[in-house]
Every structure is written in C-alpha cells, then in structure tokens.
Amino acid sequence: METLRVTLKETWHFYRKTLILVAKGSNAYYAWCFLLLAFIAAGVLFYLKQHDVGLLATNMNDQVSWGLYIANFTYLVGAAAAAVLLVIPSYIYHFKPIKEIVILGELFAASSVIMAILFVMVDLGRLDRFWHMLPFLGKMNFPESLLAWDVLALNGYLVLNILIPVYLLVKFYYRKDPNWKFILPFILISVPWAVGIHTVTAFLYNGLPARPFWNASILAPRFLASAFCSGPAIIIIIFQIIRKVSAIKIEDEALFKIAELIAYAMFLNLFLLGSEIYKEYYSHSVHIAAFEYLFEGLHGHNLLVPWIWAAMAMNVIAFFIFLVPSTRKRLTTLNLGCLLIIVGVWIEKGPGFVIPGFVPDPLGEIHEYIPNLLELMVSFGIWALGLLIFTFLMKVAIPIVTGEFTHTEYEKEVTALRHR
C-alpha cells in the first residue's frame, strides 16, 4: 500500500513536471506553439464542415476519388518508415549520440504515423463507422484487403514507436539501465516493420490492375527509395534545431553521413524513375497515358506538369548537392538540399503519384483535380497537429535524455522537504 502511494505520488510529480516543461519555453517556442494551435483549430472547424456535408465539401469526385489526404498519407508513411531506418546506419557508423538518435527518430516516426492515420481518418466518408475496420470488433477483410494490412501495420508501428521511446525514457528518468534483453528485440523488429509499413502502403496501390500507372512492380522499391530520401532529410533539419535548443551534441559528421546516405537513396530513386520512364515510353502501349498526363499534359490537361518538373529539378539538384562533398559538408547548402528534397519528394510521391493514377480513368475520362480550401486547411491542421505533438514530445524527451529532468530531482525535493 505504501509503495503504491509512493508510486502514485512519483507519477503525479512526473506528469506535473512534464506539463511545466511543455508550458515553459522561449518566446520563439510560444510563437511556434500558438501558430500550430491556430492551424489546428482552423483544421478542426473545416473538418466539421466536411463531416456535416459529406466528402462533397472536397474537390474529389468519382473520377479522381483520392486526393490531397491520401497524397499526404503516402508521404508521411514514408517519412515514418525512414526515421526508424536511420537506426541501422547510426549503429553501423558508430554515431556517438546513438541512443538519442534512436529515441528522437522513433518519436518522430510516432508523430508521423499519427499524422498518417489522421489523414486516412479524415478521408473516410463515414468516420462513425470506423469500428468496422477493427479486427474482432468489426469485420476486417484480412488478409485479402491491403487496407486491412495497412491498419494493422500502422497501428502496430505506432505501438512500437511509443513503447520503445517511453520505456527508454522512463528508464533514463529513473537513472536506471534499460533492460536491453527486453527492449532490444522491439528495437530490432521496428526496423523491418518500418520497411513493412511502407511496402504495405506501396502494395495498396500496386495490387490494382485497373490502374496501370500503379500496377508496376517497381512501386515498392521506389517508395522505399524516396522515403529514404525525404525522411532523413527532415531528420537532419530536426537534429540541427535540437542541438541548437538543447544540450544534446550531434556532430556535423553525423549529419554529413546521413546526407551521404540520402545521396545514394536519391540515386536509386532517380534510377528507378528512369527505368519506369524508359519502359513506358519505349513500349509505348496504351498505358503510357498517365505518364503523358503527368509529364507532358494529355489532351490539353496539364495542371500537374509544372509541379512534376519542378520536383524533378529539385530532386536532381539535391542529389548533386548531397553527392559532391564540398556542398554536402557546408551547412547552408546542406539545408538547402534538405528542403529541396523534402518538397521535391512530397510532390513526386504525393499529388504526383496519387492523381495520375486516376487520369485517365478506366473508361478514358480525364478530370483534373486541385484541392480546395477545405482540403488544404484540414491538411495543414493535421500537419500542425503532428508537429505540435512532436514538439511536445521533444520538450519532454530531451531534458530526460540530457539528464536535466530526472528522478533524482524529485528525490532531492523530497529529502529537502523532510529535512525542513
């Protein structure tokens, strides 16, 4: 009974302290948080409108039945996968702050997966029937439906990416050594699981013979290659912010190594893209129509053409920035390269992937799609929510990892109280 009371008191103290950590910060931090909260509030209001009217409030239609939401979902699953995949090279290349990278990377992956799941949820026409998708409670079509696999894979990944960091953080908080025998299998399994979630997302598109643009075997490798470009690029930027606002030391060498890996991944991505383009343009079957729509415009419809060419330019420029050591090892060009890759891969994997699958549609119709304000605001809201969650997680995790926020503080307080 006494130990239970003590444990409860300790836990309550822990939560109080985390709230203080989250609520206290610099002015820049407050500005960031309020900006994100504003976007979230706007997103919720717009979503209520969509919930009321139905998906009619978006710009999707029978011909292009998936739009901005699913585009963002695809991109975010890739980012989530790549964040964890970074663990392997960190381990191989003996990065000093390896445990920080593991924890922060997994927390970023968790925020990404939450965003991805939210994007799917706002895309559902009948969110009130969400429980139909749950195993045992609902009637999940496993193993035939890839969406069912995706639900299991993403939620399992989320559980993993909450379990591992929380376990490690709690152990660090109590200044105890983690039981590696217990946690290492989870860390090890999270790496193939990361590959798994993105493969399942790729197979979701891949298994549809009705959409020849997606029905290419090269899809899963391309997804992984482009994920391995965008995810680490986001991580590089995040690490730079983290080492500026906290005591965590992340050496430049680590960042440059990650950038080198991005270069190889981007090469693979470009090579796979080149293979697809060769196959379509040389064989010149009817299925070239979607590629023509994307890269050239089809029958006068060419909304996506400037976007995809911009994305191609960004990808190629970023590839060279990361390849050439002098540009890679200079922080300004490195950050430029990261930004280019993040945006370029988003265009290529988001709208540049989802929309051409629907143009032309199976009966040859061509309908272009632009997201409307409601879709944009809801998407911004979800991105803001993910970023806010990640910010709050960082606000708590970093002090624990650096040793500022530990249980010894509490013990000191208690002993000080007792001695008064």
Binding site: S65, L208, P209, P360, G364
Partner: protein, 301 residues
Amino acid sequence: MRDKHYTRREFIRNLSLTAIAGLSIPLFSACTKEEAEDFLQKHFLEMTEKEKKRLIAKLEERYQQKYGRKFQISTKEAQQDTLWGYGLELSRCIGCRRCVYACVKENNNSRYKRQLQWIRVLRLKRGNLINLENSEHYYDPEIVPEKGFIYLPVQCQQCQDPPCVKVCPVHATWQEPDGIVVVDYNWCVGCRYCIAACPYKGRVFNWGEPNIPPEELNTSVHYLGNRPRMKCAVEKCTFCIQRVRSGRYPACVEACPTGARKFGNLLDPKSEIRYIIENKRVFRLKEDLNTDSKFYYFFEG
C-alpha cells in the same frame, strides 16, 4: 517567480483543455440521429432472421417519416442454381441513354443535383473498340445514332473474380451466390478503395446526401439493391436485384428501345444469354485483367 510560472502554466493548461472540450462537442453533436441509431448495426450477413426483420421494420418506418411513402423492402435471397449473366448487342445500341435514366428511376439514384448514374454510355469512333481513352462520354447531338460512331454502354460487370470485393477493408461488398456483387450500404466506411480498384468504373460514391424528390421514388426495393442510400456510401448496378430475384427483367433491359440488352441465367441451358454465348461471338471488356466479368458484348451483322 514561482507564482508567475504557476499562473502561466495553469492558464495554458486550462486554455488547452477548454479548447479541446469545446471543439469536441460540435464534433460529436455533428452526428445525425440516423448515424447514432445505426452506429451499432451489425453486418448484414451476420444478422439473424429476427434481426433482419427488425432492421427492415426500422428502415420502413424511417423512410415513411423521411419521404412520406410506404416502402416494401425485400431481403429475398438468391435462388438456387442461378448465375445471372448479361448480354449487350453493340450493333444495336444507338446511344440514346434511355437505359441510363430508366436505371436512375428504378434504383432511386440521386439526381438533379449530385447526379449519380450507374450506366455510362461511351461513344467510340468506328475502327476503335478497346482503347477507351478516345471515348466521348458527354456527347449530346440532336439525334442518335451518329454516323461513324458506335456506342458502348458500361456498368458494373458483376465479375466472378471481383477486384472490388478483394480490396474492401470491411467486407462491405461481397458476391452473392447468384453472382451479383452487392454492397451493404450501412456497413460501408467510405474509403473508396473499391472505386480505385474497379477497372470498369462500375462503382460510384455518394459524395453528399442523395437528392431524390419523394414523388419520384420507387418504393419496391431490396435491402442490398435500390433502397434509398445515405451520404458517403458506395453504390453500383445490382442487375436490379429487386427485380431479377422475382424473375423480372432489369429496368435497363426493358427500357432499351432497340432491344440491344439481353439478360438471363447462365446456368440455364435454355436461357437467352446461353444462346447468345453459344451462337454469337461474344467478348468481355478488359478480359486480360482476368476479372471474369459476366457482361457479354456481341455484334450481329
């Protein structure tokens, strides 16, 4: 110093909690009464006879209240030894779209605003049949048929190996024993994966609440077929399940002025559709996708 932090922390905490609570109330109250009633409804295939009867009674009462008309909702099951097949004589289709609108009327499709049509008639230039990229869907001449063109109506092909059934994450769509692919509108979550998977654009989505004037409703409906649907549920041609299970022709067959459409039981050797398959040269759309469609097109003369 301590007090200042306390006040600021308290303030931010209270503000955040109020915001979350405030925003979730409209979210929860945005669910309509219907949605709340149907929330725990089971999947149609898992219901017992009693539960089905109760469901039908509830729906009939709801339709009475909503539209002021008395509906007869059937849950008639598939007949034995039946596999419905469809034949369409392309040489006789003149592209008049009477079938499209007969289907809309028979099946209580949303119309006027947010038009939903289950049949789509394509116009193709003579010399071109398989590449549908050059088809025209929105032709609107003074009279049909136009010289130099042929017309190809497309609807759900009721495939024997349906890609839409494969991809539905919740089993909201399945193939009945008599070959018709049906949707439980109350179970569909609206993810639209089936629409992406269908090679024939047979499935359409209720993006908003359907819009049918109550006087134009067809009140003899089937639960899995043409009963009035709700927003954000997928729907498609069901070979007029409410008609064919009693032995009547689908509405499109009866509406065609040139008699281009034929229907029957593929397992009955004396049926019209079997005669067509055995004596005419039939083909199915996109046969290379191996969907084993039951919609046979043929030409004569």
